[in-house]
């Protein structure tokens, strides 16, 4: 009966370790667990079955060319981002109308990775996913690990509107190739269609009595004129300098031809040493040297730079056509937003003025281990119908992968100018792939630490190119990255 509390206060040795020490040590241990990596294991893999309970395929008919099981559940997870979820919900209603006995489980999230990564690891992913946003799961890894279903059956199925036309033939240029990684299978269906280029206010340009410059000399002239009026020529998302390629890459393509960009995408040795790359880098660097870039730009994020541009502090900004929606609340009503293909160098350029970067956005995938992959593809077929496509364009001010599908829709100024730019480009649509093949290389290495540094005046074009070539060579040699090639 010696263990009274009084004795313990004096007797600090308690089973070998002082009581105070014990408390202290355990407190320290508890604190230690805070910053460490336990969160990673939260998505620990647990094997998982290989989708043994797949839905049986239904009968293929003219109305049901993919053979959807009309009683099976179809699960659809959407990224709830700038485009919202209404357009998808409308399309889900059409699915439910076509298959009244099937149940559709629709959900949307901004955290695609958090929600779906564990399900891929467990082997029970949903049937259709819009794998987009900040938490987008790496497509290269998903393809490399055979987690996605080949969408070729969808592309070869008759389109929703015209049974005599395959889905494949109703799409805009570049959409099918973008969904391929290597070889013929098409893994991704990009639903939105983005026009990249130089965005400006037609009103501001008119006030300078100029039209959009087609050569670099003209560009410098317009910038000089703007500077006299107290307006900077350019601004860009300084904190995310991988917006600059939206106009810089198609310029390289225009000056040096499509092959230069393909070589860059293929990570070929010395691809960046091509004279066209050097000429275009020097042209952009000249904007910095002549003081045509809005002061403070390297410290602005995309929203801040777009706001400064919308307020008329700068004339041009490299961007994608989502800017119209994203900055809608700061763009004045009489702004008259327009987009142009990038200016070239001079008349010796390989491709004509109008050569533009346009490509798919909002990547939809059907997982290989989905229980009802036919259902997922059928949902996509419905979304690629003219009615759904128009609904999307009208609701979210963006084009879809469906070629055409804008007649009768009241287009906003930016969208109208985007459609006109696509028409002018014709077949001269470029589609650089670095940003979806090698995300880290494109954004962090080329974007932030080379182009961003150059545009802030901390690297010369020659230094920037050397640095980029080094990054590209390292990526080409890295065996832990999956490599792709243009066909």
């Amino acid at each position: 009966m010696g263990s009274t509390s009084g004795e313990h206060n004096k007797n600090t040795t308690f089973g070998g370790v002082g009581r105070r020490d014990l408390i202290k040590r355990s407190a320290a241990l508890g604190l230690l667990s805070v910053p460490t990596m336990s969160f990673l294991s939260a998505c620990a893999s647990s094997g998982g079955d290989d989708g043994g309970d797949k839905a049986k395929a239904g009968k293929k008919t003219a109305k049901n060319p993919l053979g959807v099981n009309d009683t099976a559940q179809m699960e659809f997870v959407l990224f709830d981002g700038g485009f919202g979820k209404e357009y998808a919900q409308d399309a889900v209603k059409l699915y439910e109308k076509d298959f009244p006995k099937a149940k559709v489980k629709f959900s949307s999230t901004q955290k695609i990775g958090t929600v779906l990564q564990p399900r891929f690891n467990q082997g029970n992913p949903p049937d259709l996913i819009d794998n987009s946003g900040a938490e987008q799961m790496d497509m290269g890894v998903l393809v490399g690990k055979k987690q996605l279903a080949d969408l070729t059956p969808l592309l070869d199925a008759p389109s929703y509107d015209d049974p005599n036309k395959k889905v494949r033939d109703t799409l805009r240029p570049g959409i099918v190739e973008m969904g391929q990684f290597d070889g013929d299978p098409v893994w991704i269906m990009y639903y939105a269609y983005t026009v990249y280029g130089v965005f400006y206010s037609q009103k501001a340009l008119d006030s300078l009595d100029e039209k959009y410059p087609e050569t670099w000399d003209e560009m410098l002239k317009v910038c000089a004129k703007a500077k006299k009026k107290g307006m900077a020529g350019w601004t860009y998302a300084g904190k995310y300098p991988y917006y600059i390629p939206f106009s810089l890459y198609p310029m390289i393509g225009k000056v040096g031809g499509r092959d230069v960009l393909d070589a860059i995408d293929n990570l070929e040795p010395n691809a960046w040493k091509h004279p066209a790359v050097k000429a275009c880098f020097e042209a952009y660097y000249e904007l910095y040297q002549k003081g045509y870039i809005l002061k403070g730009t390297p410290g602005l994020d995309h929203i801040q730079s777009q706001t400064a541009w919308a307020k008329g502090k700068a004339l041009f900004i490299p961007n994608g056509n989502w800017v119209e929606n994203e900055s809608a609340n700061v763009i004045p009503a009489d702004f008259n937003l327009a987009v142009s293909a990038p200016s070239g160098l001079d008349s010796s350029d390989k491709l004509p003025f109008g050569t533009i970067w346009a490509s798919g956005g909002e990547p939809f995938v059907v997982p290989a281990k989905a229980k009802n992959p036919e259902g997922g593809m059928e949902q996509l077929r419905i979304m690629l119908s003219e009615a759904s496509s128009k609904n999307f364009t009208a609701k979210v001010k963006s084009l879809t992968a469906l070629n055409g599908g804008t007649t009768g829709v009241d287009l906003t100024p930016g969208l109208k100018s985007g459609v006109a730019a696509l028409e002018k480009a014709g077949s001269n649509v470029l589609n650089p792939r670095l940003q979806d093949w090698y995300v880290k290389l494109q954004k962090e290495q080329i974007g932030v630490s080379a182009i961003g540094e150059m545009m802030a005046g901390r690297l010369t074009p020659a230094e920037a190119i050397k640095k980029i070539q080094g990054f590209a060579d390292a990526a080409a040699a890295d065996t832990s990255i999956k490599h792709y090639k243009h066909k």
């Binding site: 294991s41 987690q147 809005l294 932030v448 832990s480």
Partner: protein, 308 residues
């Protein structure tokens, strides 16, 4: 009699230790295991690759840069934050001038107001703080450059987060601003429990503010300071530094890797690059750094505890 003592202790400890083992220790072991595989984080199949990830890490410049920044955070942030917090809380509780009719020991005039002001940032979530400062650092129309302009320093308009030489310091300043208040309150509570007669005795002996602080306050507050130090160091290595770097900096982690920290690199590798195994390898390195940090602080800070 000590009979049955251990059984008694074990009875109480089983549940918490069990939970701790499952939710803390087991994930650690798993992470270490994954660091020897080529797991992508996106599919359940992977194989053992031995020390490949570790070899890669030792040749990875960005890893070394992030390690360097994390170490700088872990050394500088606690030093600056805790010194500031000690100074503020001393002035709030002890440092005041003697006023007629008042208590012998009191804080500066308006100290209760200052206490609230200092604690205020603590109420805001770190994400909001980071966003606020992102606006303040905006070189085009942000508060800081506007202020510089307003007081006639229009020629000095730094790029702040856009400048590789300033960006890391900008981030650190935000962390100090947002955490100092917590420590002011923590140390104030500690100082309140120091008996006033000790201070009175010191005053009678003619001790000034500095002497009182270094001879009386600091030694009696040592335990609190030490825990605060470890806690701050862990914030600087972990979640808080991730939040500010991820939200505020260019890229994030830039410009040109000037602000990247280990937690950010773990996150990017796992969730952007789809290389979860390599990310856990960096996580293991982070674990080692954190353990070392805590061990060093505990070792250096060991002192005889004063009873009062």
């Amino acid at each position: 009699m000590q009979h049955g003592k251990y059984r008694f202790i074990v009875g109480f400890l089983t549940v918490p230790l069990g939970l701790y083992a499952i939710f803390v220790v087991w994930p650690f072991i798993q992470s270490i295991y994954y660091s020897f595989t080529d797991w992508t984080g996106l599919s359940p199949d992977f194989k053992m690759v031995g020390f490949d990830n570790y070899k890669k890490m030792f040749h990875d410049d960005i890893f070394w840069k992030s390690l360097q920044h994390s170490l700088l955070f872990a050394l500088l942030l606690p030093l600056v934050t805790i010194s500031l917090a000690l100074f503020f809380s001393f002035m709030i509780n002890v440092g005041g001038r003697r006023r007629k009719g008042g208590p012998a020991i009191s804080g500066v005039r308006g100290s209760s107001f200052y206490k609230i002001v200092y604690f205020f940032p603590q109420v805001l979530s770190i994400a909001i703080v980071a966003l606020l400062f992102q606006f303040a650092y905006n070189p085009d129309s942000g508060a800081i450059n506007s202020l510089l302009h307003g007081i006639g320093l229009g020629s000095i308009q730094p790029l702040w987060l856009g400048d590789p030489n300033l960006a890391l310091w900008c981030v650190m300043a935000v962390l100090v601003w947002s955490t100092v208040g917590f420590f002011v309150v923590l140390f104030s509570a500690g100082m309140a429990s120091i008996p006033a007669d000790l201070y009175e005795a010191a005053l009678l002996d003619g001790a000034g503010r500095a002497t009182t602080f270094f001879r009386i306050t600091l030694p009696l507050l040592w335990d609190t300071v030490q825990s605060g130090w470890v806690y701050m160091g862990i914030l600087a290595l972990g979640a808080e530094s991730f939040a500010v770097v991820q939200i505020m900096t260019m890229g994030p982690g830039g410009p040109d890797y000037s602000t990247t920290v280990m937690v950010l690199y773990v996150y990017q590798t796992a969730f952007r690059d789809g290389q979860a195994a390599y990310a856990t390898t960096i996580g293991v390195a982070l674990l080692v750094v954190t353990l070392l940090f805590a061990a060093i602080v505990m070792r250096l800070g060991r002192r005889e505890r004063l009873e009062f």
